[in-house]
Subunit: 452 residues, 2 copies
Amino acid sequence: MTQFRSSRSEMSLGLFLLGAGHHIAAWRLPEAPPNAAVSFPHYQAIAAEAEAAKFDAIFFADSASVRDFGISPIDRDERSIRLEPLTLLSALAVSTDRIGLIATASTTYNEPYNLARRFASLDLLSGGRAGWNLVTSANAQDGPNFSLEAHPEHGVRYDRAHEFEEVVRGLWHSWEGEDAFPLDKTGGQIFRPEALHPLNHKGAHFAVRGPLSVPPSAQGHPVIIQAGASEAGRDTAARTAEVVFAAHQSFDEAFAFYQDVKRRLAAYGRAPEDLKILPGVSPFIGRTRAEAQASFDELQDLVTPEVGLKLLQPFAGGLDLRDYDLDGPLPDLPVTTNAIGRQKLLVDLARRENLTIRQLYLHIAGARGHWQLIGTASEIAGELEHYFKNGAADGFNIMPPALQRSLGPITELLLPELRRRGLFRKDYTGTTLREHLGLRRPDLPAFPQFAA
Amino acid sequence: MTQFRSSRSEMSLGLFLLGAGHHIAAWRLPEAPPNAAVSFPHYQAIAAEAEAAKFDAIFFADSASVRDFGISPIDRDERSIRLEPLTLLSALAVSTDRIGLIATASTTYNEPYNLARRFASLDLLSGGRAGWNLVTSANAQDGPNFSLEAHPEHGVRYDRAHEFEEVVRGLWHSWEGEDAFPLDKTGGQIFRPEALHPLNHKGAHFAVRGPLSVPPSAQGHPVIIQAGASEAGRDTAARTAEVVFAAHQSFDEAFAFYQDVKRRLAAYGRAPEDLKILPGVSPFIGRTRAEAQASFDELQDLVTPEVGLKLLQPFAGGLDLRDYDLDGPLPDLPVTTNAIGRQKLLVDLARRENLTIRQLYLHIAGARGHWQLIGTASEIAGELEHYFKNGAADGFNIMPPALQRSLGPITELLLPELRRRGLFRKDYTGTTLREHLGLRRPDLPAFPQFAA
């Protein structure tokens, strides 16, 4: 059987931003701004560093509610407060020039015309740097903020998501023809009328006439990203995604996922390079392994049991883990209807490594079930190279545990080491997110954005 | 009977931005960027000029469809294409420091939780400069982009809008207590749990639990603006708006509207200064009146009949005006279920001034039914002063006919003349939009946005 691996010599690297960092206690470090979760100056400084380091993109997750409101201590988790990601990225578009801008937006609680328009607007004004991380809302607490008693089931959400994506993509393709935009003052014509056509979509969830009022960007339309690990998620990704943010604990898992998803592409008439797979990885880097370990331990010591249990709550399937011995084994969890894929990852991990409840929450305190590496830059670069060269990754979505502490070692130790190995760019060669990622530009006319 | 007039000595001035300008032919002028409608550099340059001139705010209208698609020649109207206003304003928040940022967003085709979150995010990241122009979608063509066969009736839209506003305001008030945000690293607490409460709204249109995940801004929450001129619109404004963008053709109309809306406030326990009324005005300014008239005539000459008729189409109640003699009188129009208030303004104007169809579309080509002034800076300042001092306005929403041509005379001739008369600020005295407008800050804790 064909074995797939990256067709490029250099990997893609995204930087996943989340408040003071991915480690739940990051905001408590002395060097962290305690208001990082909603501080624009904080994100602005980090985005500038990320661009100087030539990352492909910065990325924001999202949640349309205060997570665990009424369930666990929200006042001790900086993730209870956040800025809406598209608003934030639109602002960061102005303080950056080249880096890609990826925002999560849910198909469960939005209208496709609104989202298509907002992402197309960000894409046009940023010069073709936008990406949409398409998710179904996994958080059951979002429902009651949108006039729903019950959060829709996994299957219904995926069905809606599929049609939602079709509509958004269709709206982005409202424009056609090389000479679509004459911008002719003398003749009084902005665009050729035949360049703009309606969508006339009628489906089970949506009826959308179109066309879209935003012209295409320098990269055509925003890059479509997905993150689902479930069977439905993998299939949706193979059909429509251009990037997949994956979550794995081991090379074998990552390899199996990579090969499976790449293999599914052919059925949809797509080539392996039409979809990039970027596993998440949270690196603790030190000049020595001991230094890296000390940095990790300092953060772990700041995790209190109440905050630790809060991390497990979304995957507990309704069970209150406070009723169990923290130093005993994880009980069998009722299957959640929400984050099925993430729950399975977690339970597999606990069983495989025989973790207590405390060990489990400490294990995910840094990267919420994503891959975590503690070591020197050389050790970590070696791991990433292994994945990249052997069919487990096209690059990585880097999840810094604590931004003010981790970003320095990433840009000053890890990236130079990857560059020495010829695995990461020295400078941008393109201007759009698609160019950074090595993705094809869709066949759409570009609006002459900077003509005078 | 009490006569109301502005309680402040200086007027508020908003700058209403729309592509190359409000005159439908503005983009065809030699100095205009033909891509202005969707050009971020264009808007960035104009916003910088507006801030240097100390305007209270810049303002964007919106429409969630390509207007008149399939009805009239969309390729000849730059308003067929546009950027989504909140996306655009989030970007402009970064390239400006002090000026207010007002975006239109519809209550007809959005979810209140999403809008509350986006405006609160813009408000927080801009340091308290956001304003929400709350509208019901008057454009029947928006409906088919949102899975609706028929655009909801005027009454239903107002009813939904009223509840929508209640929910958004309620979500913005999710936070309470002076010391709501300890940001205490040592104790591990971001905010006091009792500072955050759910909304638990249950109404005819929405059920929204809350709370909102975005903390309050420097000005508490965004300023709420409305523009409805109908009976329902006036009442909604008196109940909830902090600013009203009005549309009038004469002092008498403006005076009657101002007095009526200010008088309605008491019934809702509000003081006259809790709501500011800013009529729209489109000034053609010259060093002489002849120069102003020449500038106006040049633009009018660029309006072709097909584009002119397009301007009337939204108010024609379904009648195709191409079937009528352009140089004959306006026929009786079937009442539109959409823009009732604006249709009435237009018909009243045509009847009062005995205009032909051609004269009518030329009349609104510059300002779409808003007040238009052609004259010297001194003449125009005199008019504005008359309105401001005699109970017809708290300030104005300036609608430049052609930005590249009109903004210079506005900032270099008109504003200095207003300053000589003591009617407009020399510099900002506050940092938030509420401070610019002289509006009370709601009783909400401010998040320590810039603490290190």
